[in-house]
Amino acid sequence: MITAERKPLDEIFEMLKPYRRIAVLGCGTCVTVCMAGGQKEAEELAAAISIQRKKEKQEVSVEAFTIERQCEFEMIDQVAERLKGFDAVLSLACGVGVQTLVEHMPELIVLPGLNTKSMGYPLEQGVWVERCLGCGDCVLHLTQGICPITRCAKSLLNGPCGGSADGKCEIGKDVDCAWHLIHDRLEKLGRLKVMEEIQPPKDWSSSHHGGPRTIVREDVRLESGK
C-alpha cells in the first residue's frame, strides 16, 4: 500500500487561505488504511479548518466526503458535479490521487493535504514501514525477500558497509541494517554464496532516473485507447 501522513495544520491553513468554499476529499483505499486520509480524517480536518477560520473571523464553508479511490477517473466521476461547486479541493489522497484529479478535472484547484511517504505496510498498530522504492528491476530473488535498494540507506548491492553495528544501520539505532538481515537470512537458507558474487552496477534507467515511467500493454488495451 501507499503510506502517507497529514501535512502540518499550519501548512494546510496557509495554502487554503485564498479559498472560501472548500471540499476536503478523502480517499477510501491506502490512505484510509494508514489513517491519514479516509472519511474520518477528512471530517476531522474539515472541523479543524472551520475552527481556525472562526478564530480568524474568516468566512468558510467546508464539506468532507470520500470516494473509494482518487486515482481512477470512473470514481472521480461519481463526485465530479459536486466538486465543481468548490473554490478548492483539499485532497487527502496520495500524490497520485491529487494528480489524477487535476488531470481529469483541470478546472479544479486541487491542493495536497498529505505528504506521500512510501510503499510499505503496517508493521503494527500505528507503525508503517517502507518496503519498496519501485526501482523497476526487482532483486528480491537474490536477497531472499529483503530489499537492499529500499532498506539500505545507501542502496548497496554488495553487502553491508563499514557502518553496520549490532545489526543496526549507521544512520540510527532504530534502523535495521538491511544487509545484516539479508546476511542472516541467506545463512539460514544456506545461500551465503550469493553475497560472494560481485553484483554489477544497477541499471537505474528502469527507475525514476530514466524519467517518468509508463506501462503500455497492447494485449489489454481497448481499441478506443489506441
Partner: protein
C-alpha cells in the same frame, strides 16, 4: 607493478608501509594542510586525502591531491560513492590520473545525514565494490562501466577499506575477499583500538590466505584526550573503543602522552601480526605528532625506493 607509486613500491618490497592522512579544510585556503604535509614528509610513504569526510563540505580530495603533487608528496585520493554518480566518478578517475595521481582508495562514504548538508540527496548510483571493480576494469580491460572503450590505457594502484569492527563479524572476511576480487591491491582498515578483535579477524584472513593477495595496512589513530575517545566511541560510525582503553586514559596523568603511547604500542603489536603489511596513521587534527609516532614505533627512516 600496477602504477609504480611510492606506496606500491614500498609494499611490493616487503617493507612495513606507513601512510598518513590529511583532511582538507572547509575553505580553499589549504596552507595549514600544506604545513602538515611538510611535517609528515619523509615520515609516511603516501598521504590519504579524505573525500568530504563525514559528509562535510571541504576542499575536494582531487584538488588537494594536485597541490600535494606540486609539493612532491604522494597522495592517495579517497573517492566515495555518496556524492557522485558513475559518470562523475569515472571522469574524476581520469582527471586524477591525468594530473599525476597514482593511488586511489574506493569507499562508500559516511551517510550524508552526518554532515553539514543533511538535506542533500545521497547519490549511491554504484557501491564501493562496484567502484573498485569499475576502476579495475578501466585499468585492466580498458573499458568503462557502460562498455565503452577508453581511448588510451591508464595505470592506477587501487585500494579499499575494511572494518573488522563492523558486523556481522564473520562476513567482514568474506567482504575483504570480495574486495580483493573486485580489484583492491591494498587495504586500509578502520582505526584499531580493539586489538583482540583485530587479531581474530586477521586469523580468519590468514586461514584463507588473503594476506598474501592484498597488503593490509592497519588503521591507527592517536587519541588526544578522554573527550576525543568518548566522542569516537559514541558518535563515529564504525569505530569501537574498549572500556579498558577509556579507563587507561582516564587513569593517566598526561593524557596526550598516554594517547601517543597507546598508538605506538598498537603499531608495535601490528608489526608482530603475520599478514599486516603496514599501518595507516590517521592523526586528524593532531598531524604534528606523526613524525614522533613513526620514529618511536621504529619505522623511521622510511625506505627510499626509485
Amino acid at each position: 607493478m600496477k602504477a609504480g607509486s611510492n606506496l606500491e613500491k614500498v609494499i611490493n618490497s616487503g617493507q612495513f608501509a606507513v601512510t598518513g592522512e590529511l583532511g582538507p579544510p572547509k575553505s580553499a585556503d589549504i596552507s595549514a594542510l600544506r604545513e602538515h604535509g611538510e611535517t609528515m614528509r619523509n615520515y609516511v610513504d603516501a598521504f590519504n586525502i579524505t573525500d568530504n569526510q563525514t559528509a562535510i563540505v571541504r576542499t575536494s580530495s582531487i584538488g588537494v591531491a594536485g597541490a600535494l603533487l606540486q609539493m612532491g608528496l604522494e597522495p592517495v585520493v579517497q573517492m566515495t560513492v555518496r556524492d557522485r554518480n558513475r559518470i562523475a566518478l569515472q571522469g574524476d578517475l581520469l582527471g586524477a590520473v591525468a594530473m599525476g595521481v597514482k593511488n586511489v582508495l574506493c569507499l562508500s562514504g559516511d551517510h550524508q545525514m552526518f554532515g553539514n548538508e543533511a538535506a542533500a540527496k545521497g547519490v549511491y548510483d554504484i557501491d564501493s565494490m562496484q567502484l573498485l571493480k569499475a576502476f579495475k576494469d578501466i585499468r585492466d580491460e580498458g573499458k568503462f562501466i557502460g562498455g565503452d572503450d577508453l581511448e588510451a590505457p591508464l595505470s592506477v594502484y587501487l585500494g579499499a577499506v575494511a572494518n573488522p569492527f563492523a558486523d556481522p563479524f564473520e562476513y567482514r572476511v568474506d567482504r575483504l575477499e570480495k574486495k580483493i576480487a573486485a580489484g583492491a591491491s591494498f587495504i586500509q582498515t578502520q582505526c584499531i583500538f580493539d586489538l583482540d578483535r583485530f587479531k581474530r579477524w586477521m586469523e580468519l584472513v590468514r586461514e584463507r590466505g588473503l594476506h598474501k593477495k592484498v597488503a593490509i595496512l592497519g588503521g591507527v589513530t592517536p587519541i588526544k584526550s578522554l573527550g576525543a575517545a568518548r566522542y569516537m566511541k559514541n558518535f563515529v560510525s564504525g569505530i569501537t573503543i574498549p572500556d579498558e582503553l577509556i579507563d587507561r586514559l582516564k587513569g593517566a596523568e598526561k593524557k596526550k602522552e598516554e594517547g601517543l603511547k597507546i598508538a605506538i604500542e598498537t603499531i608495535q603489536q601490528l608489526k608482530e601480526i603475520e599478514g599486516v603489511a603496514g599501518v595507516h596513521v590517521m592523526a586528524i587534527a593532531w598531524e604534528e605528532v606523526v613524525p614522533d609516532i613513526v620514529e618511536r614505533a621504529g619505522l623511521y627512516p622510511r625506505p627510499k625506493l626509485s
